[in-house]
């Protein structure tokens, strides 16, 4: 079925558009295969509203006499209303939106049609490949190697074609270890600490099952990771009880007897549906302005969103502590190793590694730890907070990561090169995008769908100098130190920039931010090494002889 067949009414005149902080507008509404457009006809060149249909999470129809009202709730949390004269038109528009906003086929999605004039499709896609990462990271060369055992995605469907593993472990052992891990996600290197060479590994749970199977190769692989040092830590992102229960369904955990060098910690993290429901509850609490303070606090608590943020930061802190303070390597996994595992390992890197705090470094981190590592974006981000559809595999793990990064930024406002704006942009793009970066669930799927050949890469486009500037933190001062966040509940806050994005509050904040920018700019101009200081020093140089002369004169 052609996309256009979903469109029964393409244009409606005399539609009224209502949205926060704008006066109501009358104009023409237009539905295309991928967009909803609105123009008030005054300015031919510009659309008053242009939203991707994929950004629409839910719509509600209401009939008022002969006309109808459609409330559109977007995945970026914007809510707007359209009053459409004519019941039939209203229903047609609504059904088109419903059909076109929930396309299943990847190649029908907008990134495959997005062709801006300033971008070309030729050239490499993405910022860096695993091979490039390996080449650039000299500290890996000695003990680690690139393995292409997964080049045809046969060993692990969700892993990229190349992974970094201990040098002394050969590909056969990897294949055997993969058979012993859920989804074939055998332990691979995620990060090597620049100070002490200790590493963060990640994997999925071992398939020990009820009768406590073991796998020699998996054990050897992990032994090779710590290479002679007597100790490593396994951070299991489930409670001990959950890990025990997982054995009943074929999963399990690394037992002390088989992995004697490894010490295991359990940290309970909610996953999947529970986290998705948290998001739904939180957004619901935020969008009802009539709450009393008590009711608000109770709803905020009830959503548990901040509890998830809290536990993610705590566990990331634990990983950092193991690596940086204790000087031991860490293996992180939960069950599947595609959600919380990535959340914890990437947060730990942000805290540990100054290189991941630049714009480029952060985007590379996301590319490596989320895109290439096989976070199933398409499944997780199919719906956001407003959808009434039955939950399938939705889970806002990535949003949770962005929230945690925001919390770190709040506590270290000078340490990150990027600003909140970048996090907000990513929060939007992950749900609906012109770019192909967040399409599909794994590298293998992206390969099959031809994403790299037929779409543009978001990260590359964000790094274009004119674009990047919008996302810079004016106060950035690089530091080599580890940025330990405080994880007291009192130190964490609701991310108002995202969840209260469409309130007046955001506008005052924006003005204050601009003021900060202008102060910094003024400072750069004044204190810039090229201008004032030159002037100062030269003036000083000229002055000194005069002053000496004056001194002499006074003495005389």
């Amino acid at each position: 079925m052609e996309l256009s067949e979903h469109i029964k009414t393409a244009n409606v005149e005399d539609v009224t558009l209502r949205r926060p902080f704008h006066p109501a507008l009358r104009g023409t509404l237009c539905v295309t295969s991928h967009h909803l457009l609105f123009s008030d006809g005054k300015d031919e060149a510009s659309w008053q509203l242009l939203i991707l249909l994929k950004n629409i999470d839910a719509i509600e129809k209401r009939a008022v006499g002969s006309s109808g009202t459609i409330t559109i709730k977007c995945k970026d949390l914007l809510v707007l209303q359209l009053e459409i004269p004519g019941m039939e038109e209203c229903l047609n528009i609504a059904s088109s939106i419903e059909a076109l906003s929930s396309l299943e086929s990847v190649t029908e999605m907008y990134p495959f049609f997005y062709r801006p004039s300033h971008l070309t499709l030729s050239g490499p896609w993405g910022l860096s490949s695993m091979e490039q990462y390996y080449k650039q990271t000299e500290r890996l060369w000695d003990r680690w190697r690139i393995s292409t055992v997964n080049s045809d995605y046969s060993v692990c469907l969700s892993y990229p074609s190349a992974v970094i593993v201990p040098r002394e472990v050969d590909d056969d052992m990897l294949i055997r270890s993969a058979r012993f891990r859920q989804g074939g996600r055998f332990p691979v290197l995620s990060y090597c600490h620049h100070r002490n060479g200790m590493v963060i590994m990640r994997s999925s749970q071992p398939l020990t099952g009820a009768n406590k199977k073991s796998c020699k190769e998996d054990e050897l692989l992990l032994r090779a990771v710590i290479d002679g040092s007597k100790l490593g830590y396994i951070i299991d992102l489930r409670s001990a009880q959950q890990a025990q229960q997982a054995r009943m369904t074929g999963g399990g955990f690394e037992s002390k007897s088989c992995y004697s060098d490894w010490k295991r910690f359990h940290r309970h993290h909610e996953r999947g549906k529970v986290v998705q429901e948290s998001l739904i509850k939180l957004v619901e609490a935020c969008s009802d302005p009539s709450h009393s303070v008590d009711r608000w606090l109770s709803k905020l608590e009830n959503s548990k969103w901040l509890s998830h943020v809290h536990s993610a930061l705590c566990t990331a802190g634990l990983v950092v502590e193991c690596v940086e303070r204790d000087g031991h390597s860490v293996l992180v996994h939960g069950s599947e190793g595609t959600d919380n595992t990535l959340l914890v390992s990437s947060l730990a890197q942000l805290i540990l590694d100054p290189a991941s705090r630049t714009v480029t470094g952060f985007l590379c981190l996301l590319e490596r730890e989320w895109i290439q590592a096989g976070h199933p974006f398409q499944q997780r981000c199919a719906h956001s907070a407003y959808s009434h559809a039955r939950l399938k595999q939705e889970c806002p793990s990535f949003l949770l990561l962005l929230d945690c990064v925001w919390q770190v930024w709040r506590q270290f406002p000078l340490a990150l090169e990027f600003s909140e704006a970048l996090l907000l942009r990513l929060a939007q793009e992950v749900y609906a995008s012109n770019y192909g970066t967040f399409l599909c669930n794994s590298e293998q799927e992206r390969c099959a769908a031809g994403v790299k050949e037929n779409t543009h890469c978001l990260f590359q486009s964000l790094l274009r100098p004119d674009i990047e500037e919008q996302y810079l933190n004016p106060l950035y001062e690089p530091t080599d130190l580890v940025i330990w966040p405080s994880v007291h509940p009192q130190s964490l806050q609701l991310w108002t920039g995202l969840f209260l994005r469409w309130t007046e509050y955001a506008q005052n904040m924006e003005e204050a931010r601009e003021e900060v920018w202008s102060i910094v700019k003024e400072h750069r101009e004044q204190a810039g090494p090229d201008r004032t200081n030159n002037m100062l020093s030269t003036h000083c140089d000229t002055l000194t002889p005069f002053e000496n002369l004056m001194d002499e004169l006074t003495i005389l």
Partner: protein, 643 residues
Amino acid sequence: MEHIRTPKVEQVKLLDRFSNKSVTGTLHLTATHLIFVESNSTSAQEIWILHHHIASVEKLSLTTSGCPLLIQCRNFRLVHFVIPRERDCHDIYSSLLRLLRPVSYDELYAFSYNPKQNDQQREEGWQLIDLAAEFERMGVPCDQWQLTDVNREYKVCETYPRDLYVPITASKPIIVGSSKFRSKGRFPVLTYFYQEKKAAVCRCSQPLSGFSARCLEDEHMLQAISKANHNSRCIYVMDTRPKLNALANRAAGKGYENEDNYPNIRFQFVGIENIHVMRGSLQKLLEVMGTRSLSMTDYLVGLENSGWLRHIKAIMDAAIFLAKAVTVEGASVLVHCSDGWDRTAQVCALGSLLMDPYYRTIKGFMVLIEKDWISFGHKFADRCDQLDPDPKEVSPIFTQFLECVWQLTEQFPQAFEFSEWFLIQIHEHVHSCQFGNFLGNSQRQREDLQLKERTYSLWAHLLSEKQNYLNPVYSLSFAESHPVLEPSTQAYHFKFWRNMYHQYDRSMHPRQSILKHVLTLKESNRELEGTVQALKTKLQAFGVSTSPLKPQTPPRERSLPSRPQSLILGAPLLSRKEVQQEEDEEVLGEEAREDAPASTDGERTVEGSSATENGYGELTGSFGSKNEPAVVTLEFGVARMTC
């Protein structure tokens, strides 16, 4: 001095509130301070605690390592010492008990504090705030409002100031009659005049109406206020109490205005709870926040159950109602509660702050406090427990006002000339009894104490370190475009004020401060500009052209702006020791340095002033709590951030 039994105890342990860490040092007891000096020579931290700041001392049961002493301060600091010998602990304990309960005003720190100023400077300090000038700024006296001398001798109302402003048509008999019909004689007087609409904000105490009593003079008084406003004959009477409380008061011969007896009034209850509820609420809040390894759920539930933010919102709602009535409708408003010195002060002051950008400047805020709180007789001595404590009279009324202002600064980052550290510093000194401003319960009492001759003014002190309290993004144009603030009262705007209630729990603060950083940039901008100007003038004096010179040599050094030395404004400027320490930190992880010592003359600056934020105890708390076999030294260490 005779109360000090043991001036010095060595080998005292100071336990961290939220982790298992501790440091060892020496405890000194002086006439004014309790001082802890860490023995570690490289990072000797000092903690100075003013006796007046101590709310309670508790001796806990003996442990193997010694005798624990728990000290809770009014500025929300909590210290936990362990003293090796029980005898010493007892001596300190009993000395403190005596020292923190001064029996007469003369024992308060303000009377011995000497900031090395001469009499003239002291006098100038006291003259900084001039309320007559403030009323003049508002446009009073004018054709409708006059200054009355009826209270010159404090004969009509003991707790009011001498100078009071009343409607021109309110004659002396009316005033006196009205005052007899009002609790504590606090008759309706002007506190703020909104010139643009000639609308007045007046304040008083509750009428002694009981179930049916009337007072013609009082009715005339309100009539006079109504007549003084040509814009709107109708005046709002805001009873800031919950209706139930007001009803209960009727049985005691007090109560509220009967709309039938007063023409042209619109009566309104606002529902701010009384001092006892507020005291209990804060106590609950502090209990929750003091819990070790607090979970997110317990934190939010505790915050809700304390009701604290609900009370803050109630005050804010009332102030917004007041500001709207005055600025939008142009109506005059009369505000009262029971005695008219707690809730009334909160609402009038906050309302004026919303209406008048002047009160959002540093000087203006001082004037506002001086007017609505100090001169109109908020009972600072009782509420802040300065002397002869009656626990039932203590209540965080003024703290709530400061918090409301903070909530506003969060909503309007560009509207205030000052930052939160200014508010925190004022809070510190309301309890410190170091300056004369907040001593006593009323103007009259302050005059009897001759405070202006015998003590110093806080305002002069704060103005002298004004640069520490500036808000770098304060914008005059914002004030012009938003003369009246219209805050949102949606629940999610009310946040927990961590920097106030956890002021001394350094591990909770952000590790780097935008505020401080931007302020430093701004300061350095100004300095650079100044230097360039100065050099130019100098050069001109020598007859050298100031046209751009060709740089002869590259600049000597990289010209980084001086880093903010402390996250917390109001911190003492960087001392050489700190510079040294900061350099050390670059090399090796530096151990916990808590407070920078306050200078020896006891001049207290905002504590929490070290350049490093550290003591990552919080993570210890959260990890250590899980009963994990302690294979890892589960303790976060050192902050190696210099900020």
